[in-house]
Symmetry: C2
Subunit: 210 residues, 2 copies
Amino acid sequence: MATTTKGDAGAARKRGNATGSARRAQLLAIAAEMFASRGYTQTTVRDIADEAGILSGSLYHHFSSKDEMLTEILQEFMGSLLREFRSIAEGADSPRTALDGLVRSSFEIIHRTPHAVALYQNEANFLGSTPEFAFVTKASREVERIWLDVLRAGAESGDFRPELDPTTTYRFIRDGVWSTVRWYNPRGRLQHGSLADQYLAMLDGGLLSR
Amino acid sequence: MATTTKGDAGAARKRGNATGSARRAQLLAIAAEMFASRGYTQTTVRDIADEAGILSGSLYHHFSSKDEMLTEILQEFMGSLLREFRSIAEGADSPRTALDGLVRSSFEIIHRTPHAVALYQNEANFLGSTPEFAFVTKASREVERIWLDVLRAGAESGDFRPELDPTTTYRFIRDGVWSTVRWYNPRGRLQHGSLADQYLAMLDGGLLSR
DNA sequence: GTCTATAAACCGATAGAC
DNA sequence: GTCTATCGGTTTATAGAC
């Protein structure tokens, strides 16, 4: 791995990067993958630079700090998450179809961007205790509001069983769905659509025969 | 390891200290709390020593390494987890009461030992990639076997809906239940018994009105 | 945009006095 | 059982050459 460091620069040029941010995006993708798989603090800037085929000091031409990389990854993720959830909640014609859409969309997002989801899921400790990442907590609260509105409307309309507390229900679904990122395999036998089907079958009808 | 009833007739000790010294157990409790709240790698040996009111070097009189502290915490936790789950699965008179008992026991364990559970939950990345902690993965597989046997027996007996895949069902319940450690408050309004009631109501009957 | 070289701080761990 | 003192290694980040 520590051999020809100059050859890699040519390989990167081959992809025709017109803008300077193409390289930046590529480095962020590498960082996201390593942050997700081995944890943020366990990943060193040297690790990222090695994987990119450059030296650690060169990373600071693109980013001012390691924290900035994490910030950028999470900002993009939280932004697209909010946009997608808002559009689903607004476009649904009933609480039940809204919840169905939110759950399916979640599994799709896990399929599309597993690294960002894993980061968001695994580094909750770190993110919650660092003021720089307050925007994550804020976006999370906004997501919660969207889901809670759907669950409350469904309890009101009679779609959902009214004896179930919306907040607890939300947490149960949220934790169960997002946790799948830890074992879901994007190239495995069970694809995200089928996984969503199974989770919705359990959620809708429960476990017990009747 | 936990309860050697061997006759240490020392009259000075009021509370049951296990095989190790009381000081050792106290230091482990401090370490567990900090490992859980800010993460294993983010917690330095100096942090632990500070909290205990000693200097970092003094910790090495009790433990040979930082890893050893984590190992000991997790070994005790995984051992008691396995014993409890085994006894519940063996003592139940039907798959449905077995699953009920397993879920209720899980919430009780989260209530009793939240730090160890959080550690087990949050450091999965680190634990899975370090050979020293292979015993955790091994115990997890044994836990999975216990739950899967219950779920398969229930699908067979007709207690549970046969169209639900036991493995996916197990993961859904496991992730949903253990994740509550991240927001459950042992001194909050919602106690573990009521929380178990709500989760079981959702699990048993599902979300939809009928 | 990357490399060379290195600063400054921090971390886990050790040796020996008391 | 704790403290003093410190070692060797690692980490993030910087300055300047090319």
